[in-house]
Amino acid sequence: MALARRSSNLLKPLSTASSSSFLHRRPFSTDDTTTITVETSVPFTGHNCEPPSRSVDTTPKELMSFFTDMALMRRMEIAADSLYKSKLIRGFCHLYDGQEAVCIGMEAAITKKDCIITAYRDHCIFLGRGGTLLESFAELMGRQAGCSRGKGGSMHFYKKDACFFGGHGIVGAQVPLGCGLAFAQKYRKEDHVTFAMYGDGAANQGQLFEALNMAALWDLPAILVCENNHYGMGTAEWRAAKSPAYYKRGDYVPGLKVDGMDAFAVKQACKFAKEHALKNGPIILEMDTYRYHGHSMSDPGSTYRTRDEISGVRQERDPIERLRKLILAHDLATEKELKDIEKQARKEVDEAIAQAKESPMPDESELFTNVYRKGFGVESFGADRKELRATLP
């Protein structure tokens, strides 16, 4: 294991570290920017490109924030599981636990002006983009306080001010949308990129290749991120794809295979990809990750894979555990402090759920709002001439 091999380096004490507790006595908790270099667990594999180095620079602050955020996300998904079982969340609910490292690592490498668009497994990505727990839970339960006012549901989380474009139910349809976002960024000559995320199941969609062709043709700053959790609902990747090397599928488009359970590998890859996309056009990132839950809440997740496999991945590759070991090895916090952080996360989630439960269901009139935008651009009347619309803009 990479971690064990490097443990001697990791255990070297930091210059400013002391054995004091995290919150009060350690100065790093607010502004320690000592660089720690972490090695990714596995090297990157490149296709048509030179993979970036395995050494990732990070700071104690970042390490702790990764842990805190991931713990929160994990807790949120587990809570959503029990809310679904108690029938407060209905319909489809696709949980992201196990894959948190992908969105955490990505956020660390980009700004809020870079766009992210994903499919239906979007709760944690929404959180990573700055969404609040209240908005998440309220939307899941269909309440007014939800990010889409209760009208979207689990698969339709959006956050416009943080450039999070959702939240899409139809597999693969978000990738052309993502290329459109990149197109707009290029049109406006912005220095930002778009991350269009999809799964290993969606990787076989034709529109993906259509979009990739256009992105490569026009050098759009689009980064296609395949979150390969190895199962397209119940179908394992080897049964669905002739070539499960999704990062190579771009052919003329470079690709990178990344260990998606390692937040630092993801961060490095996204940083690399952003630089590449701004200069040379699209690139594919394949995140090798895993989901502990089934495809959705209606899928037990054990009919097509063994429980041993799931627990094996949880023991060996769990992103939060990896971070925990790193933090403990670098002596940035004690076991107890980390447990406290997790307890705090639980508390926050429970509070948010309680608050979300109090939020009312949408009003009946909301059924008809936001179907169209008002103001059709000419001095005109509505379909029955009862409502005067806006005048010329």
Partner: protein, 405 residues
């Protein structure tokens, strides 16, 4: 449709407008039809000057339905001058004006740039605005429609061209799920100001797959608007209105109408997306039509006038939502409705319109609504068969005669 009434009724606090005010407030729709000279290439019949007279309210027989050009030259639309233009040029003019006005407007589609558009609607725009604003896409409807919608989410205003409307079936998922629904499912965060346009309809022996009428497939998608243009005047106006609208608009053009010629005003004008056009006021029967069938109806109207009937012809233009105000006022006057459309019989625009009229104006109808639509068959290649698939003027005349018994 009733639900729209409920909604607007619930939300509106303004007083209702009476019909008189309506007629006064939209003078354009009354005046515009004074323009006379239409080259109607679509009909097999050899009519090449169709004139629509305003004021046919008299019940007496009209001896000669075809007036000369002389009496129409005096009144024209708002400007005395104007310029003669073909329909595809009018579309281009509207498009060009909007692109000059707003830098966010861009066009994407197959062969729209260097080739100039398969129907020349975007000719000359790529050299003027650049390759990024008039984007030649590969043949990937699903993806470039999705791209346009994604760009719209970011604030651009793309116009997506389907080389033939039928090809947009490949992009149906994007149009239905993303274009129509994103404003709603995001709780109002994103607006999708796209215009999806392209020629459809039965052409000249183009074969089944290139003669599709997609109005019926798209009409139940919530969140989009549909308009159909039929003259150079309304083509330019609707194009401009569609581009300025913050809602996704599908603009249906017709393959056979691109070379229609008309004089349109020099000054800028934008038409109302949800308004129907009064083509010929009348008293006996309301004929509702759109796109190419308007010309078949007007041709039949000539025959009908000769026979002593006085049909009121309305080009509904707005296929979603229906302009039930204009239609309702007409029904209240004539009490008989004939719908003439090019859509298929099953589940077409006519079927929806019939249902909407029955729901809302049942008390005013003296006879059941007659709907003439195309046959429920794939469009055959043979010319004679193709003629029989669509509604022809003699059928319209017969239907009116039966309706007015």
């Amino acid at each position: 449709m009733a639900s729209i009434f409920q909604r607007i009724g619930a939300l509106s606090s303004s007083t209702t407008l009476d019909t008189k005010k309506f007629h006064l407030s939209s003078p354009r729709s009354l005046l515009e039809r004074k323009v006379s000279f239409l080259v109607v290439r679509s009909d097999a019949a050899k009519i090449n000057s169709g004139v629509n007279r305003i004021g046919g309210r008299a019940h007496h027989l009209v001896a000669n339905a075809v007036a000369t050009k002389a009496d129409t030259s005096a009144e024209s639309t708002a400007s005395k001058s104007g310029h003669e233009i073909l329909l595809y040029e009018a579309l281009k003019e509207g498009l060009e004006e909007e692109m000059e006005r707003d830098a966010r407007v861009c066009v994407m589609g197959e062969d729209v740039g260097h080739y100039g558009g398969s129907y020349k609607v975007t000719k000359g725009l790529a050299p003027k605005f650049g390759d990024l604003r008039v984007l030649d896409t590969p043949i990937a409807e699903n993806a470039f429609t999705g791209m346009g919608i994604g760009a719209a989410m970011m604030g651009l205003r793309p116009i997506i061209e389907g080389m033939n409307m039928g090809f947009l079936l490949l992009a149906f998922n994007q149009i239905s799920n993303n274009c129509g629904m994103l404003h709603y499912t995001s709780g109002g965060q994103f607006k999708i100001p796209v215009v999806i346009r392209g020629p459809g309809g039965v052409g000249r022996q183009l074969g089944a797959e290139h003669s599709q009428r997609l109005e019926s497939y798209f009409q139940s998608i919530p969140g989009i608007q549909m308009v159909a243009c039929s003259t150079p005047y309304n083509a330019k106006g609707l194009m401009k209105a569609a581009i300025r609208s913050d809602n996704p608009v599908i603009l249906f053009e017709h393959v056979l109408l691109y070379n229609l010629k008309e004089t349109i005003p020099d000054e800028e004008y934008v038409l109302n997306l949800e308004e129907a056009e009064m083509v010929r006021p009348g008293q006996h029967v309301t004929i509702l039509t759109y796109s190419r069938m308007r010309y078949h109806v007007m041709q039949a109207a000539k025959t009908l006038v000769n026979k002593g009937y006085d049909p009121e012809v309305i080009d509904i233009r707005s296929l979603k939502p229906f302009d039930l105000h204009t239609i309702g006022n007409s029904i209240k006057k004539t009490h008989r409705v004939l719908i003439v459309e090019e859509c298929m019989r099953t589940g077409g625009i006519g079927a929806s319109l019939t249902a909407a009229i029955n729901e809302n104006f049942q008390d005013y109808l003296d006879a059941p609504i007659v709907c003439l639509s195309s046959q429920d068959v794939p469009t055959p290649y043979a010319g004679t068969l193709e003629e029989w698939t669509v509604v022809q003027p003699p059928q319209i005349v017969a239907a009116v005669e039966q309706l007015c018994q």
